[in-house]
């Protein structure tokens, strides 16, 4: 059912400590992370998280270390038990699954990619990539075929009999990605998957992910502490701070209307012209003065970022910019006032 939410997180709380349950009430009444630690010796992990993730979308969850983002992603496949709340995937509350059903759920619905790769050092690349299939007891011949397909897809053909330790970090994470994809999960969970990589390799991996995603249309939950990465990848971005959700929305919402001081500081240094696309900021024809719409010839593609056409705008000084879709028809318009307003910080 496209359009409906694949994952629905409702009133999720996680408090670490020996007796967390009675403290949910207190947290609800506004007791803070520090006070909880000071007075009750419990650590607030997640505080009333509500989030809907639509099918086939790439949801980024962003926050600094200690914000609870890794804790949150581990609730989706229940590697961590919550203190209270619901985690609904495909209409089913994951938290009510029996131990066996949970294993089945993990085998078939989700696959995870880890920050430090978490490959099996004693197994070859091929064995690593087919690990999930082995767990599912897929026929060895078929598992190998599938695994080889994904090894090729991530560009590791020829390395299938190497051990992880013999590969570079970037290559190891390709193995991690192939291992997750070989399982053909509905949901791909990526826990700071690219954070340990060099910037260049990181960009490569982001491009690989976007390319694969445009083809496979999985539901992806991507954790990162890097805003540029979040803006590049995310259809939607949720920002966590101290276990609470500060803001949730698409790149434009976050960049142009930060809700809290924390988010504002986060987005302060972002180069907007490099992140925002024409389609993100375009206006309806009705928002533009009628006389401006006549005779304009300046056209940009919907997916172009501002940086790509800003030089032409400076030279041509058009009254209005037409944003065109793939077939050349006008999707919307962009006045120079709007453009300058967006670029002004």
């Amino acid at each position: 059912m496209p359009g409906s939410n694949k994952i629905e997180i409702k009133k999720l709380y996680k408090i670490f400590g020996p007796k967390p349950l009675p403290l949910v009430e207190k947290v609800n009444n506004g007791i803070g992370k520090d006070e909880l630690l000071e007075k009750h010796k419990h650590v607030l992990g997640l505080n009333n998280i509500n989030l809907g993730i639509p099918e086939q979308s790439l949801q980024v969850i962003m926050g600094l270390s200690g914000s609870g983002k890794s804790t949150l992603i581990r609730h989706i496949n229940r590697l961590i038990e919550p203190t209270a709340g619901e985690m609904i995937v495909d209409g089913q509350d994951v938290l009510t699954l029996s131990q066996n059903d949970l294993l089945e759920f993990r085998k078939n619905k989700t696959a995870m990619v880890f920050q430090k790769f978490a490959l099996l050092p004693h197994k070859t690349v091929l064995q690593n990539v087919s690990f999930g299939l082995y767990i599912k007891r897929v026929e060895p011949a078929e598992a190998e075929k599938k695994a080889m397909h994904w090894i090729e897809r991530v560009g590791l053909l020829g390395f299938e009999h190497r051990y992880p330790q013999q590969l570079s970090g970037g290559m190891q994470q390709r193995v991690g990605l192939a291992r997750a994809l070989a399982n053909d999960p509905d949901i791909l969970l990526m826990d700071e998957a690219f954070s340990a990589l060099d910037p260049l390799i990181r960009k490569d991996m982001q491009d690989i992910l976007l390319e694969i995603q445009s083809e496979l249309k999985k539901t992806v939950v991507f954790i990162t502490h890097d805003l540029d990465e979040a803006l590049k990848l995310g259809d939607s971005i949720a920002i966590l701070k101290d276990g609470s959700m500060d803001q949730e929305g698409n790149a434009v919402d976050i960049l142009l209307s930060p809700k809290t001081e924390y988010v504002r500081k986060f987005v302060e240094d972002v180069n907007r012209s490099r992140v925002l696309k024409a389609k993100n900021i375009m206006q309806n024809a009705s928002d533009i003065a009628k006389d401006l719409l006549n005779g304009q010839t300046f056209k940009v593609k919907a997916d172009d970022v501002i940086e790509k056409f800003i030089d032409r705008v400076v030279v041509d000084k058009p009254n209005v910019i037409e944003v065109m879709g793939e077939n050349g028809s006008a999707l919307g318009y962009l006045s120079s006032e709007r453009l300058s307003e967006i670029l002004r910080k």
Partner: protein, 300 residues
């Protein structure tokens, strides 16, 4: 009365002698009664073990020396890939045989092999159990400490009282002495497996059994092998003490040398034990290293 209280801090307060004697006597009597009652039963329980041990000893003694050296060399070469070690083994085994200690060495070797097999067979499951349960660890650890620090002569006594003198009591006392590192290092190896890797296995829906066989045990193997190596070394060290209760082989010759003050005999048999130890040590360590090969960054 007054001087008694000052003496309290000078002379250690002890139970009356009669009471202590009664305590020792009654405990011994109870144990003796127990062993009279169940001794035969326990002995028959260990009968298969005895057969297993005798089988190995006979096999090694009956096999021509040339075959034995050949097999040991094949194992050594497969493990170490080193001609030096293989040549060393041939030379030293020749020395032992040439000095007339071949049969004794084979008996000791059979004994060590069986003790090691038994220690592995009992130790690894115990270690796994210990790694799975913190409570099991809390109970077993002090027992292992006790087993390792109690002087071997002390626990020879109840074993001999129960089973008499012979191969089985010898074997049991060697296993008791040699098994702790096996259990400890299995436990340690499994507990040391990277949490992230386990989490990855969990995220793919692995059952506890799949996690154990596919992830924990293989990753713990190098540590477990270190345990096997230590167990072999401790069994070898115990061979001489076990000879006091009737275990044949090199140890018995050493014992004879002690009681009769035959310096050369003791020296030669001691040397043979050292040779056996080095051979076992090198081979088992080499196997331990081989299974870690994936850890190096070199291309294989």
């Amino acid at each position: 009365m007054a001087d008694k209280s000052t003496n309290f801090f000078m002379d250690f307060p002890t139970l009356p002698k009669e009471l202590i004697r009664a305590f020792k006597k009654s405990t011994d009597a109870a144990y003796k009664a127990f062993s009279r009652e169940y001794g035969d039963y326990i002995e028959s329980f260990f009968n298969p073990l005895l057969k297993f041990l005798v089988f190995w000893e006979k096999l090694l003694v009956a096999t021509p020396w040339s075959v034995i050296i050949g097999v040991v060399c094949i194992f050594a070469f497969y493990g170490t890939r080193s001609y030096k070690i293989v040549i060393g083994i041939i030379v030293s085994f020749f020395f032992v045989g040439y000095m007339g200690m071949w049969e004794d060495m084979m008996e000791s070797m059979g004994f060590i092999i069986v003790a090691t097999i038994m220690s592995i067979a009992i130790g690894i499951p115990m270690g796994i159990w210990m790694s799975k349960s913190n409570r099991a660890q809390a109970v077993i650890t002090p027992i292992l400490d006790f087993m390792q620090t109690l002087p071997p002569f002390v626990y020879l006594i109840p074993v001999v009282m129960l089973l008499g003198i012979g191969k089985i009591p010898g074997l049991i006392s060697v296993i008791v002495y040699a098994i702790p590192p096996m259990i400890r290092l299995t436990n340690l190896g499994i507990r040391e497996v990277d949490r992230e890797i386990l989490e990855a296995a969990d995220s793919f829906g692995a059952t506890p059994r799949q996690k154990l066989t596919q992830v924990q045990f293989p990753l713990a193997l190098p540590t477990i092998f270190a345990g096997v190596n230590q167990t072999i070394m401790m069994a070898l060290a115990m061979v001489i003490i076990a000879s006091m209760i009737g275990v044949k082989g090199l140890g018995q010759e050493v014992l004879r040398a002690i009681t009769n003050q035959y310096f050369t005999l003791g020296m030669l048999n001691g040397l043979a034990i050292v040779i056996l130890a080095i051979v076992f040590d090198r081979i088992s360590q080499a196997y331990g290293k081989r299974i870690q090969k994936h850890r190096s960054g070199d291309a294989i």
